[in-house]
């Protein structure tokens, strides 16, 4: 036991004395949650729009006014002729051009046939479809207001309830994912790199010939990263709640329990990588290519899994972070209880057991 404590202490010394590693371990998660939390915004605001309006009557002015008042849109100005439309788009000044047909108001009243074209810059498809949707809804709303002379009969009013995230902030969706990514990065990448470093320096051999059982060596290597992961988890959760204003709706202890489970999986993965590599550089590259990239791309962190080709959807199932992120969204954002995440917990537990078993076995083989 005394040996074990000494080894663990040694690991802590390694980490605390290296300023760079320390910074990497504690500052990077903070930077990441802020970057992802604010940098990935699917919300639209202040889209600049321009108007082409030959008639400038009360209806068109009314529509322009309502749009201008809306926080999604900012009026850039009027376009005088169709040629100008081309240049204003090319220079990337505006996201939306609203083109009214001639004699707009008159036509509405007389023939009931007036046209609005919403020409969006389709470069970013997501933004384009969102802003045309918003603009359409504004115009429909105005249309009803305009005709409110006598109330339209037979009106169906949809009552919309946005569950869990009424203001539709993208941070709600991103934060559980970033926590998963950070834990994976810290646990798996740092563990594998630090093990590889000992191999490179030759100190691993010295430790391996010591009378300590290998299982204790592994545990002593892993404990500091476990502790740091817990610190990071708390930091990131605090930032999520107080800076990004994403509340923890569900049970805090359930959330910690799932996170612990995931940390075990990540540590086991790190251990597994370290048994396969000889140098820090390879450990680092392998972690980035084999762990970080799949987490960013395939775990549903940013991009919905259901949009992916079916083959990649299958691949996504074997990524531990996918299950963790799903469980975190259920507990943290939706506020669901344990019964709702049984599947996720079961998969993560199975992964943890299998991975720990394999990496311990591999680690022993190295000793012989």
């Amino acid at each position: 036991m005394r040996q074990f404590l000494i080894f663990t202490q040694k690991e802590f010394f390694h980490i605390f004395r290296d300023r760079w590693t320390m910074m990497m371990l504690l500052a990077l998660p903070i930077a990441m949650i802020i970057l992802f939390g604010f940098g990935i915004t699917t919300e639209i605001k202040n889209t600049k729009f321009a108007i082409y309006d030959p008639s400038r009557d009360m209806a068109t002015l009314g529509i322009v006014n309502t749009m201008e008042k809306n926080e999604y849109f900012t009026l850039e100005g009027y376009v005088e002729n169709p040629d100008e439309m081309e240049t204003i788009f090319k220079e990337g000044k505006i996201g939306l051009l609203v083109v009214f047909s001639e004699g707009f108001y008159e036509n509405i009243i007389r023939t009931g046939d007036a046209q609005v074209q919403l020409i969006a810059d389709g470069t970013d498809p997501n933004t384009a479809s969102t802003i045309t949707n918003y603009a359409t809804n504004i115009i429909i709303g105005y249309q009803q207001e305009l005709l409110e002379v006598g109330e339209i009969p037979f009106q169906i009013t949809p009552e919309v309830k946005l569950l869990y995230n009424p203001t539709m902030k993208s941070a709600y969706n991103i934060v559980p994912g970033v926590i998963g990514m950070v834990l994976m990065l810290i646990c798996a990448m740092m563990t594998s790199v630090s093990m590889a470093k000992e191999k490179e320096l030759g100190t691993m051999e010295v430790i391996l010939v010591s009378p300590m059982p290998p299982i204790l060596i592994v545990i002593s290597k892993v404990i500091p990263y476990f502790v740091i992961s817990m610190v990071n988890l708390m930091n990131v959760l605090a930032l999520a709640v107080f800076v990004l204003e994403v509340p923890i709706v569900g049970n805090f202890f359930l959330l910690i329990f799932v996170s612990l489970l995931f940390i075990f999986v990540a540590l086991a993965l790190g251990l597994l990588i370290s048994t396969m590599v000889e140098t820090q550089l390879v450990a680092l590259l392998l972690s980035v290519v084999g762990l970080l990239m799949p987490v960013i791309m395939l775990s549903g962190l940013m991009f919905p899994i259901e949009n992916m080709p079916i083959v990649l959807q299958y691949v996504a199932q074997i990524i531990p972070a996918k299950w963790y992120i799903s469980a975190m969204r259920d507990v943290m954002i939706k506020g669901l209880g344990f019964t709702s995440i049984i599947m996720e917990v079961a998969v993560l537990s199975a992964m943890a057991i299998v991975l720990i078993a394999i990496s311990l076995k591999k680690f022993k083989i190295r000793l012989e």
Binding site: W20, F89, N126, A128
Partner: protein, 370 residues
């Protein structure tokens, strides 16, 4: 002298088991897989239906919803609580609840309500799904009004055609948006990351000290380090453009020469950035961490995934300092809008500024002797 150094660098480059493979494989896989994955498009929204009315109106509304092609009805529940379970377990994204006596209320009281509940954890999907559904209901409502009021009503409710059109990307393909940006991400990795790691590697091995006692000028040494990666940069760019043409049928609207011209300035700027890192880092590990941190920041503040205009003000401010932002703008504009040089002057100035700044800093921070 440069000639001998270049000979050395190229031999080492091709002898390395990892780097040449990466130069080929990285852009290939990134351009093939990334656009498949990086997709915020909202389609196939799963709908849970609670129809308390079961009237002809409610049935025709449901038909209209299905016919729109946006929605899959994955669940029909007898009450809201049961429907909510499907949202909790992610089997449905939206609930459409039609109250009992919907048809009768609409006809008798001349107005009626419908309830839509959306899973908004993914705000984008929840919001857009709801908007689609509201649109369909409004269409349906128009039909009902016409039906109930006959021609008389048709006159009173003028029709306003709202026609959405999408410039540059009429079918709103996500690949069109992502591919140009991915080209740049790959370029940044190869021309910024690799030479920096290479130089720090020589530091760690002590071979750089051997070079420092030779008459080799620092400038010559650095240039010999950068040239192989610059060339790889062009190889990567060309592979990327070819693959995106063959696989994603994407060809720049503008001139290829504009792309190569701006890529050259970007490569210069970003390899300068790599040099700055290599001057401060002592070990490969440190260099990697520093690179990792800055490249991540640059990427997220570049508008690669989501437009810079939507970020909070402080993030928009930081984004001015990301060279990736400008080059990604250039590539998207040339690719999609066919913009020419005269429309890209602000980006040109910004990128030149970065090139001068980073390379100047690299020169100033380098010391051949201490």
């Amino acid at each position: 002298m440069l000639r001998f150094l270049l000979e050395k660098e190229f031999k080492q480059f091709f002898r390395n088991s990892f780097v040449p493979r990466m130069v080929i494989m990285f852009p290939l896989t990134a351009i093939l897989i990334y656009p498949l994955v990086a997709n915020f498009e909202v389609k196939n929204v799963n709908l849970s239906l609670v129809d308390h009315d079961k009237s002809s109106y409610s049935r025709s509304l449901v038909q209209k919803v299905v016919a729109s092609g946006y929605f899959n009805i994955t669940n029909v529940a007898s009450n809201y609580e049961k429907a909510l379970r499907t949202i909790e377990s992610n089997r449905a994204d939206l609930i459409l609840e039609i109250p009992s006596n919907f048809e009768r209320t609409l006809v008798k009281e001349r107005k009626a309500n419908l309830m839509i509940s959306a899973n908004a954890v993914n705000g984008n999907k929840g919001g857009l799904g709801t908007a689609y559904l509201v649109r369909i209901i409004s269409d349906f409502n128009g039909n009902i009004q016409t039906e109930l009021m006959g021609n008389h009503g048709r006159m009173k409710i003028p029709n306003l055609d709202i026609i959405p059109l999408y410039r540059y990307n009429p079918s709103l393909l996500y690949s069109v948006f992502m591919v140009p940006a991915i080209l740049i991400m790959v370029l940044a990795m190869i021309c910024g990351f690799l030479p920096a790691l290479n130089i720090v590697g020589e530091k760690e091995n002590g071979t750089i000290e051997q070079m420092n006692v030779t008459p080799v000028k620092k400038f010559t040494f650095i240039v010999s380090k950068l040239i192989p990666y610059w060339l790889s940069g062009y190889v990567v760019l060309t592979i990327g453009i070819t693959v995106s043409l063959l696989v994603w049928k994407l060809f720049p609207e503008g001139y290829l020469i504009t792309i190569y011209f701006f890529a050259t300035i970007f490569i210069l700027a970003f390899s300068g950035f790599g040099l700055v890192i290599s001057n401060y880092a002592i070990t490969v590990q440190q260099a990697m961490f520093m690179m990792f941190f800055f490249v991540l920041t640059f990427i997220f503040m570049s508008g690669l995934y989501t437009p810079v205009e939507n970020m909070p003000n402080w993030a928009q401010f930081i984004s001015h300092f990301s060279p990736l932002k400008y080059i990604i703008q250039v590539l998207r504009m040339v690719y999609l809008k066919g913009s020419a040089f005269n429309e890209l002057i602000p980006q040109f100035i910004a990128l030149c500024g970065f090139a001068i700044f980073f390379n100047g800093w690299a020169v100033l921070s380098y010391r051949k002797s201490s």
